[in-house]
Assembly symmetry: C2
Homo-oligomer: 291 residues x 2
């Protein structure tokens, strides 16, 4: 196995093990709420013109596993892992780091969006990935999306990501938090989509040192998510709410859907690379309102 | 007044009078259902960098009137008229007919989307417009979007537009119906967004003869809409429906929101030209579901 093949395999194994731990943590919360909801998993193959279905190792386009749980606390949560490869379309290749002259790519990652039943519990998004073209890099992020924000939840979420970033440099958290504020913004409304978090991309990882550093950062981000989010859910999941709170939640989810459909690069990447449509659009809310 | 100024004024007056007649027809249906709902009208000015607020005649960017009714039969219907002008951004100008070398534009039109309370009543869209750059043209269309389709409604809707198009040439309806099938299609789902209607664009109208022909066609399309849609509403508005029908309607509305946010050129045009965000996104459904 070449060094690059071993990096791809390591990254993939991490994303898949993180998926399993997150899904178990979320199912445990459902148990505490007296529900027996669990994740339903569906495997899918990458599709598209000239793509052979099947695993990458066998010359196919790869694919992924879409996990969905509809529970009592988690109204709808999707956790996807995917590992895909092939060649970008010539037009799309121009927009991708290191793909202008050689459109071949590999991508592995985890992507999660949770829409919560109780409007006092924030929705959340987390996604990390390892991309390989003629270059290779990590990217990812997580952001908190409360229909009804609580300053202490926002602080706790950010504090855990600040701690995760600290070993990687004194200004890493500030830069990535600022990047999240810039990215998770709905330009046509002129409003933030949530209360932020972190976002990073193109952490180039072509050397051993860089790969190790950026893979460690990406693992730290995954651990931070797993530490930070469940306590916020447990704190709010039994809060009383009104019909007006539910309406606030649904209108807020409409904004979230607008962001994902109009602006989100991950959604675009999925639609352009033959991702599974149900997996890509699993981020969309179970019920959204536009006044 | 120059010939072109008089064409702009004629087109605008037609769109505004059509708006008034449609809103009255829809309010009459609410009366029949025992509701006193009526349209609420909000005037807005075009905004954006370098745009002076106010009417075009006074050197401003123009604006429009957004009409919304939330009734018993019409869960949410928006009818907008707008008359705007100014200069496209250099990048956007390249994409617009006749604007590559001179970015100045004028646009007047009517745009309507109705989302209906009863899932047996089809939602509907209608939009017609007159655009002026270094060229001038009419465009527009209408399509029927039933969550639960009835073949006889589809036939009746298409028959009325076929009749409207007939005086303008033997193949006009077929061409415009095909154009609607191509346009009102959700590529990432591989499905039509509804049961079609008609769509046309760039009916160039630089001469008197062409202007008269295409303005007459556009008026005929407006009359066809006003004739065709209310009888379909009256036929279905008292039908019994189940929770499952409501769920079908909401999932179907999710697809509709996807089309408008990802693909619709009218939405893009509005967002790029400083249109009123509430008017542009008024097409979005009151309540949509994603499973």
């Amino acid at each position: 196995m070449t060094e690059m093949e071993s990096r791809k395999a390591e990254a993939r194994a991490w994303f898949e093990s993180l998926r399993t731990r997150i899904c178990e943590a979320f199912e445990a919360i459902e148990r505490e709420a007296g529900s027996d909801a669990s994740f339903d998993y569906q495997a899918w193959d990458r599709e598209g013109e000239g793509v052979t279905p099947g695993p990458l190792e066998a010359g196919g386009g790869g694919g992924g596993v879409r996990g969905v749980m509809k529970g009592k606390v988690f109204e709808k949560v999707g956790v996807n892992v995917s590992t895909v490869g092939g060649a970008f379309s010539p037009e799309f290749a121009k927009q991708i780091n290191g793909a202008a002259d050689d459109p071949r790519f590999f991508a592995t990652g985890i992507s999660l969006v949770a829409h919560m039943a109780n409007p006092h519990v924030p929705a959340v998004h987390m996604n990390t990935r390892f991309l390989v073209t003629t270059k290779s890099w990590f990217g990812g992020g997580a952001d908190l999306n409360p229909p009804i924000p609580y300053e202490e939840d926002t602080q706790a979420f950010h504090a855990r990501f600040r701690a995760a970033c600290a070993p990687f440099g004194p200004d890493v958290y500030e830069r990535y938090a600022k990047w999240a504020d810039d990215y998770f913004f709905i330009p046509h409304r002129g409003v933030a989509r949530g209360v932020g978090g972190i976002f990073y991309d193109h952490l180039e990882s072509d050397s051993d040192t860089l790969f190790e550093r950026n893979f460690a950062l990406t693992r730290a981000v995954g651990e931070a998510f797993l530490d930070a989010y469940p306590p916020i859910v447990r704190k709010r999941m039994n809060a009383d709410f009104t019909d007006a709170d539910i309406h606030t939640q649904r209108v807020w989810r409409g904004r979230y859907a607008e962001f994902n459909l109009v602006h989100d690069r991950g959604t675009l990447f999925g639609l352009k690379t033959g991702g599974n449509i149900d997996a890509i659009l699993m981020s969309l809310p179970p019920l959204a309102a536009w006044d």
